[in-house]
């Protein structure tokens, strides 16, 4: 048994033993859960992949004379201004209404983090207190009062594998899927992935301090579409389950870990590096973090089917997915990952180094995540039917 306070004392003293969720697997294999628990204080996790449900709150400061922005664009990408006068939210998947290569909120966010100038245009009807009706100017991250990512759904705990049974290539948020099951794509960093290492979220809750986009962030709420109702194999759910809403100051972030993506004929998304430290409070936590790719299963779905009620074609392990091909109906199907393992490792490694240097300490969660949560569908209903 170990407490957060003890671990943080060890971190401050430079004595904490910290391993990544990949490194710890062999330690548990060699020494067993009991000894590994005695020796290791913290295990770091990491992932770097497309996280569409991301975006940033920005405060531009007041112009002279002041404006109450009712419509705003950043590099021609619409930002949401239905909040206070010079606050805006730029969503990662929002697109500029331009010809040519797709350009969206994710690109604006990447540019701001890169320190580049971004064009701001805004319109207003004008009010007695905010007379100005339009403005066009250039901004940078440093020129903003606040700029923080607020991502309603990140770090999916497991996810589906996508393939395509049709005879045409389909372009999806899971990437380019060749006809007749010629490939399959998957995401998550498997055994290194944050929420797969603490499957019931004993140590991850509201207030948990994390690595976000190269800087420090916090878990702020349960993520949208958080669900606990999937089948569990080897202690971890099969398919997309728990998620987290996270927030963090863009001013500490780096384009190494925040990267605009374009999924052809789907749209723009944002790749984010996210890592969570898992305190080894007891043997139960050590067992959780020692899970390996052989034991984590993902369901395979046919993404050429246009229904929310798809039935999985098969279940495959991350060890198979990472081997480069999976077996589907006796056919060898090549696999591709949307999550970058080298970058996921950099995240876990960076987090480990921050703690080794005493710069990052653990937080005890302020409130836990829901222990049970289903997922509701959207049906077309009249007001009478819905209440």
């Amino acid at each position: 048994m170990r407490t957060y306070t003890e671990i943080n004392e060890r971190i401050r003293a430079g004595e904490a033993v910290i391993l990544t969720a990949e490194e710890v697997i062999d330690v548990v294999r060699d020494k067993g859960v009991k000894r590994a628990t005695e020796e290791v204080d913290v295990v770091t996790t990491g992932t770097f992949g497309a996280m569409c449900s991301s975006g940033a709150f920005l405060n531009f400061g007041h112009s002279e004379p002041p404006i109450r922005m009712q419509k705003a664009w950043l590099n021609d990408v619409p930002a949401y201004t239905g909040i206070a006068s010079v606050d805006a939210y730029i969503g990662a998947t929002e697109m500029a209404d331009l010809d040519g290569a797709p350009y969206g909120g994710a690109h604006v966010i990447e540019s701001l983090i890169a320190g580049e100038a971004v064009n701001l245009q805004a319109l207003s009807a004008g009010t007695d207190c905010y007379p100005r009706k339009e403005i066009e100017t250039s901004i940078t991250l440093d020129a903003l009062n606040q700029a923080y990512l607020y991502n309603p759904r990140n770090a999916y705990q497991n996810y589906s594998v996508a393939t395509n049974s049709s005879n045409q290539t389909v372009f999806t948020y899971m990437g380019k899927l060749l006809p007749n099951y010629r490939n399959a794509t998957f995401s998550t960093a498997g055994e290194l992935s944050p929420l797969l290492n603490d499957p019931r979220m004993r140590t991850v809750g509201i207030g948990t301090r994390i690595f976000l986009g190269g800087g420090v962030g916090y878990v702020s709420w349960e993520g949208t579409q958080f669900r606990t109702t999937n089948e569990t194999v080897n202690g971890v759910p099969v398919g997309g389950s728990r998620t987290i809403a996270v927030t963090g100051d863009m001013k500490g972030m780096s384009t190494e870990f925040v990267r605009a993506l374009e999924f052809h004929r789907y749209g723009v998304s944002l790749a984010i590096g996210l890592g969570i430290p898992i305190p080894i409070l007891d043997e139960d936590m050590m067992k959780s973090v020692s899970i390996s790719n052989e034991d984590i299963m993902a369901p395979v779905f046919d993404y050429s089917m246009h229904t929310r009620d798809k039935k999985p074609l098969a279940q495959v392990s991350y060890a198979e997915l990472r081997s480069g091909n999976i077996d589907l109906f006796g056919k060898r199907v090549r696999t591709s990952s949307t999550t970058s393992m080298p970058k996921s490792r950099l995240v876990a490694q960076q987090l480990k180094e921050w703690m080794e240097d005493g710069e990052f300490q653990l937080t005890e969660l302020v409130a836990p995540m829901p222990s049970e949560r289903g997922m509701l569908p959207l049906n077309v209903r009249s007001p009478k039917e819905v209440v």
Partner: protein
Amino acid sequence: MARRKFLLRFRPNIVSEPVTYLLVKDFGLIPNVLRASINDRGGKMVIEVDGKPSEIAAGMSFLETKGVEVQELMECVERDEGRCTHCGMCVSICPVEAFSVDKGTWKVSFDKERCIACGMCINACPPKAMQLM
């Protein structure tokens, strides 16, 4: 005289026809087979063709009437190393396995020598690292 590169895909029924021979004999073209993988289930062939532009066009239309899928290849595809995140999305797309994944570091390497510039990975790479030069 012009030189152009094509990827030819065959279905099984026409594998046995001597494609390159017909291009020489009937169209006066000089084909050079750069890569071929053909078996009785069909196959792929990358050829470079020298000849008059009109004869090249005629030769390729002729192949299409024979049921060969003809795809012109581009000059050169390059990877912007600064943008590549080593995700691996390109790996299962490339028809000639020009990408390979190191199982130790999980880095994705791109073998430009193998690449036939078919362009299939360009719209499959989310950070837009694969570019036509």
